[in-house]
């Protein structure tokens, strides 16, 4: 079957009244959690996992897709109106977006963000539909050694490239892999890290781990650091754009999409780098460079498009290879596993209808999001007035409910609290949570591939390098790992370059960055950037 007819079948599935209803629920929920402080799409999907066991997997994934894209739209609304970017990928949007809003152009900023997200999301999803089957075709020809190497690359890349401290990233990855080890070994039936507790024999339920890290850890962390002063929201009417705004927006949208998708599709791309690159590009190309830092519409249009295109791109390795590279994709992948669906290159052939319905629902969700976000932006902003006690108590309540309902045993709640405390500690000491989740999810699969590989070579480690692709990938892995040391060496030899290298990336963020944006984590951006910029 070719892409087109598969996709049409997908639309047919996704547009049945029931599935359409779930798409609507998904985008509404997604936008809501994107707007609400302290909640995000990854947490929401994790919280919903247990509830969706009773659903058809297709319906559940259609809803998750809506939440995934919806969170992005909602996030940009808050970063524009409040200047409190919830995720690092919307930091750049907040720079110009909030300035525009303060200058009385909130409506235009919201409009260019929403329409740009729609354009980028639609193009990105189309690229996903075209690219994913190609990647699959390539991937099914790979043997265990190559597949093992690709998984190693994904793990290491996410750990080493994203986040500001690689050491802390690896610590987090190690903890995740260790958590993934708990339970009976599938091949030999040996108990690992169960300490004789029979309840641990089945391993830690991924739902419990994800809910603990994303929901409980986050709720406790926010509770410990509640903002004491109410923020001032910029009043806004219905978003709209004038002719001039359209003229200045459409090119940034397309360029942002072009940056976003490939970065999202890379194992460690993420949305942070393309949004930043898009910002810099727009600033350079703009006919109104003087407006940058004071609310230039291009600076909202481009990064916002890049952000959404990256979100679509991320789904390519997730669906085609079973490799998630951001938190929401990781939790969605966990959802596949808990439905008994094996993620990986076989997914397209074994679960074709589901995958194509999911892709079709991304198109539908995007359109729905545009429709609900343009006229209803003022209503979404009202959500920010929900008193915090209810918000965070609600997260804990539903986290408990979800984790408990998986196995109906109080022991899971003990794990939930313990892992929640771990999540709290990680946030406190700057250990990124994404490597941990990836370690938990990919650890067992990596081990399986490793064992298959060496089984084929009868225990000879040379078997790891028996396929050319594996060799190439190990070289890339080596470069990623060694790069910062090389960078340090270059820096030592050429001190002038070093200071320049650190100073320039933070310069375009905003000239008066630190004083004007007390909330912007500019420091983490600039400290991490030099090594990140070079990796692709």
């Amino acid at each position: 079957m070719d892409v087109w007819s598969s996709l049409m079948d997908g639309f047919a599935t996704a547009l049945t009244p029931m599935n359409f209803l779930y798409a609507v629920i998904g985008v509404l929920l997604g936008t809501a959690v994107g707007v609400l402080p302290g909640l995000g799409p990854a947490m929401t999907v994790a919280l919903l996992l247990p509830v969706t066991y009773a659903l058809e997997p297709t319906s559940a994934f259609i809803m998750f897709a809506g939440i995934y894209y919806g969170g992005m739209y909602g996030g940009s609304t808050t970063s524009i109106l409040l200047n409190t970017p919830g995720e690092s990928s919307s930091v750049v949007t907040a720079i110009e977006g909030n300035k525009m809003a303060k200058a009385g152009r909130a409506a235009q900023a919201l409009a260019t963000a929403a329409i740009g997200s729609f354009v980028a999301g639609t193009i990105g999803t189309a690229l996903l539909a075209v690219c994913a089957p190609v990647v699959v075709e390539f991937a099914v020809s790979l043997g265990a050694p190559s597949y093992f190497s690709i998984m190693v690359l994904a793990l290491l890349a996410v750990t080493a490239v994203l986040g500001s401290s690689r050491l802390r990233g690896f610590a987090s990855l190690g903890l995740g892999l260790a958590i993934g080890l708990v339970g009976l070994d599938v091949v030999t039936g040996q108990a690992r890290l169960t300490f004789g507790v029979p309840l641990l024999a089945d391993g830690l339920d991924i739902v419990v781990v994800a809910v603990a890290i994303f929901a409980v850890g986050e709720a406790l962390w926010v509770a410990a650091h509640l903002r004491r002063n109410p923020l001032q929201i910029i009043p806004v009417g219905r978003p709209w754009m004038g002719k001039q705004d359209w003229k200045r927006s459409w090119k940034p949208w397309l360029r942002g999409t072009a940056y976003g998708f490939p970065f999202g599709a890379l194992p460690a791309g993420g949305a942070e780098i393309p949004t930043f690159l898009s910002y810099v590009t727009e600033k350079r190309l703009s006919k109104h460079p003087e407006e940058f830092g004071k609310g230039a519409i291009e600076g909202v249009a481009g990064p916002e498009a890049a952000n959404n295109a990256a979100a679509a791109g991320t789904l390519t390795p997730m669906l085609a290879l079973g490799l998630p590279t951001n938190a929401t994709a990781a939790v969605m992948l966990a959802a596949f596993t808990s439905y008994g669906i094996q993620p990986g290159p076989q997914l397209f052939s074994s679960q074709g209808p589901l995958v194509w319905a999911l892709i079709a629902s991304l198109f539908i969700g995007n359109l729905l999001l545009l429709l609900i976000n343009l006229p209803l932006a003022p209503m979404w902003a009202k959500l920010l007035q929900i008193p915090r006690p209810y918000l965070y108590a609600g997260i804990l309540f539903f986290a408990t409910l979800g984790a408990y309902s998986v196995n109906l045993q109080a022991f899971d709640l003990v794990l939930l609290l313990a892992l929640g405390a771990l999540g709290f500690m990680m946030r406190r000491f700057g250990l990124p949570v994404l490597p941990l989740i990836l370690g938990v999810i990919l650890g067992p699969r990596i081990e399986k591939q490793l064992r298959q590989t060496l089984q084929l070579s009868a225990g000879d480690p040379a078997g790891l390098f028996s396929e050319p692709i594996a060799v190439v990938i190990y070289i890339i892995v080596a470069i990623i790992l060694v790069w910062p040391f090389i960078f340090k060496l270059i820096r030592r030899n050429r001190p002038a370059l070093a200071t320049g290298g650190v100073a320039t990336p933070s310069a375009p963020e905003a000239p008066s960055g630190s004083s004007a944006h007390p909330d912007l984590p500019v420091h983490s951006e600039s400290s991490a950037r030099p090594e990140k910029k070079e990796t692709p």
């Binding site: 109410p230 902003a381 007035q385």
Partner: protein, 130 residues
């Protein structure tokens, strides 16, 4: 002696402020403007923005009124903050704005103005918007 006015950035709040200014000029007393927030949500529309406060500041200064503007965020509701301020400063008058409310809304949310009217130890002047 002091006049305490409960200010919120709404037409009712503006009406109350205007009336309070009038009263303060008439009796030549100090004006204490209270704009509070419980601070329990990320956003509170009843908490005035800096620019708002600045324009009130300017307005009071040009009219030559001895004034203090306070924006307490201590987790107390607006009624408690106004009553507190009135008691502390031995207020001679409290000025508040009234808004129209349905009986049901009053039942669910309670009423700040009602509490002030019932619990204040000094006269309360309640104004309606425009």
């Amino acid at each position: 002696m002091t006049i305490v006015v409960g200010y919120v950035p709404t037409p009712e709040g503006e009406a109350a402020l205007t009336q309070a200014i009038h009263e303060a000029r008439k009796s030549n007393t100090r004006l204490l403007v209270i704009n509070s927030s419980k601070g329990d949500a990320l956003v509170d529309n009843r908490y005035a923005q800096d620019s708002d406060i600045q324009s009130i500041e300017d307005r009071l200064a040009t009219q030559g009124i001895d004034h203090v503007i306070k924006q307490p965020v201590r987790g107390h509701d607006a009624a408690a903050e106004v009553l507190d301020a009135a008691e502390e400063n031995n207020a001679e008058l409290i000025v508040i704005g009234l808004r129209r409310r349905t009986p049901v809304g009053k039942l669910i949310m309670g009423s700040v103005s009602q509490r002030i009217l019932l619990e204040a130890d000094c006269p309360v002047l309640a104004v309606k918007a425009g």
